[in-house]
């Protein structure tokens, strides 16, 4: 057997090895968001259940060494979260913002994707007013509108039934922390029933 012959005998096995490696790699990367046991959604819903705050806004404790609910959070920022489940109804996030202190709101699907985000600068008339629902729910809300009426709130279609809202209020000085906390607590997350047909 010459060397090229041996090479040809093993070539198919080498190709098969690489194919399997590629498939395992791609599948494990794609499944990670579904299978990861400690992703942000899991951490926050466990915290919400423990704090009895399902579908309500709760403020996370300041990050402590080894005990942060979410990693990579700014120590100067007060973080508020609502965990939602659209199978039970729509979610309304509403409240005032003063446009002077930084306040950011982002909507995260369970998979970790951010599907809507704003800061206090893009709030309309000093208010945040969001209605979050799946495609069908938002459509039925739109249909229930009176002819020609302009909705007061911003309606957002969520890509997944479950997810969470993150609100971040910056405390520019350490002494501003209670103020940032109050700014978050002025914003409410509440379930809203879909309109009757």
């Amino acid at each position: 057997m010459t060397i090229p012959d041996r090479f040809l005998v093993y070539l198919p096995w080498a190709i098969a090895t690489l194919l399997i490696a590629a498939i395992v790699h791609v599948v494990s990367i794609l499944l990670m968001p579904t299978l990861a046991p400690r992703d942000a959604f899991a951490r926050l819903s466990a915290y919400a259940t423990a704090a009895k705050a399902d579908e309500k806004l709760f403020v996370l404790p300041a990050p402590a060494p080894g005990a942060a609910v979410l990693p990579y959070e700014d120590a100067s920022v007060v973080v508020g979260v609502c965990v939602y489940d659209l199978t039970k109804g729509l979610l309304r996030v509403a409240g005032p913002v003063n446009g002077e202190d930084y306040l950011a709101l982002s909507l995260h699907a369970r998979s970790g994707r951010i599907f809507h985000a704003l800061t206090d600068r893009s709030a309309i008339r000093g208010k945040i007013d969001l209605l979050i629902g799946d495609e069908r729910q938002i459509e039925s809300v739109n249909n229930a509108d009176a002819e020609g009426a302009k909705p007061l709130e911003v309606r957002v279609v969520a890509p997944m039934k479950r997810g969470f809202v993150v609100l971040r209020a910056l405390a520019k000085r350490l002494s501003d922390t209670p103020r940032a906390r109050a700014a978050l607590e002025a914003i409410s997350c509440a379930r809203q029933e879909p309109p009757k047909d």
């Binding site: 096995w13 098969a16 992703d39 990693p71 120590a75 985000a117």
Partner: protein
């Protein structure tokens, strides 16, 4: 002794599956450790991943986020830059003293704080949370310097505590920076090594 020759192909197939799977998982692990997927924004020692805060986040970034459990800042809310090296490219070391000096890119607010390599809070009893663009002590011309040291320092001072490895995190809130264009390293803070214990 019975010969294995008739089973040689089965043995090879088994070996192919085994090697292929371990190669695939090794690739996945390597990919998860090398940052958040594609398109890092590197400016001097600072690295940001703007794509993780948008709806078009790639599968690699989603896998990393799912595993770390973080809820990233949305692209339109700000940018998070992490430095694990100083301005010369040497890894940040808790045994060394550093100074972080201005300038900072034009932004509505910024904060600078230290984080453990896994994104947790630094273990430093009596620790200070970090500095913001509002509460950092400045010289008359607006310049500032933040000392990073285990020893008490006058003025702006952050301590890595007992940690050997740490990261400096610069957060730019409501920043007008174009992430697609390469920002100039000259407008970003420098991290200078001052000496080691």
């Amino acid at each position: 002794m019975p010969t294995l020759e008739p089973y040689a192909n089965y043995l090879r197939a088994g070996l192919v599956v085994l090697i292929g799977m371990s190669l695939g998982f090794a690739l996945t692990l390597a990919a998860l450790r090398s940052g958040y997927g594609f398109n890092p924004l590197e400016v001097g020692p600072w690295v940001a991943w703007p794509d993780i805060g948008g709806p078009d986040v790639d599968p690699y970034a989603r896998a990393v986020i799912a595993r770390s459990g973080e809820a990233p800042l949305a692209k339109e809310q700000g940018l998070v830059f992490v430095a694990r090296v100083d301005s010369t490219g040497a890894t940040l070391d808790g045994d060394c003293d550093y100074t972080i000096t201005d300038p900072t890119p034009p932004t509505r607010f910024w904060t600078i704080d230290l984080a453990a390599p896994d994104g947790g809070a630094i273990d430093w009893p009596g620790g200070r949370r970090g500095y913001s663009s509002v509460d950092v002590l400045r010289r008359e011309n607006g310049a500032f310097e933040i000392a990073v040291s285990r020893e008490t320092r006058p003025g702006n001072w952050l301590s890595p505590g007992a940690a050997r490895r740490f990261a400096v995190v610069l957060r730019l809130y409501d920043v007008g920076l174009d992430a697609a264009a390469r920002p100039d390293a000259e407008v970003f803070p420098k991290i200078l090594r001052r000496g080691c214990a």
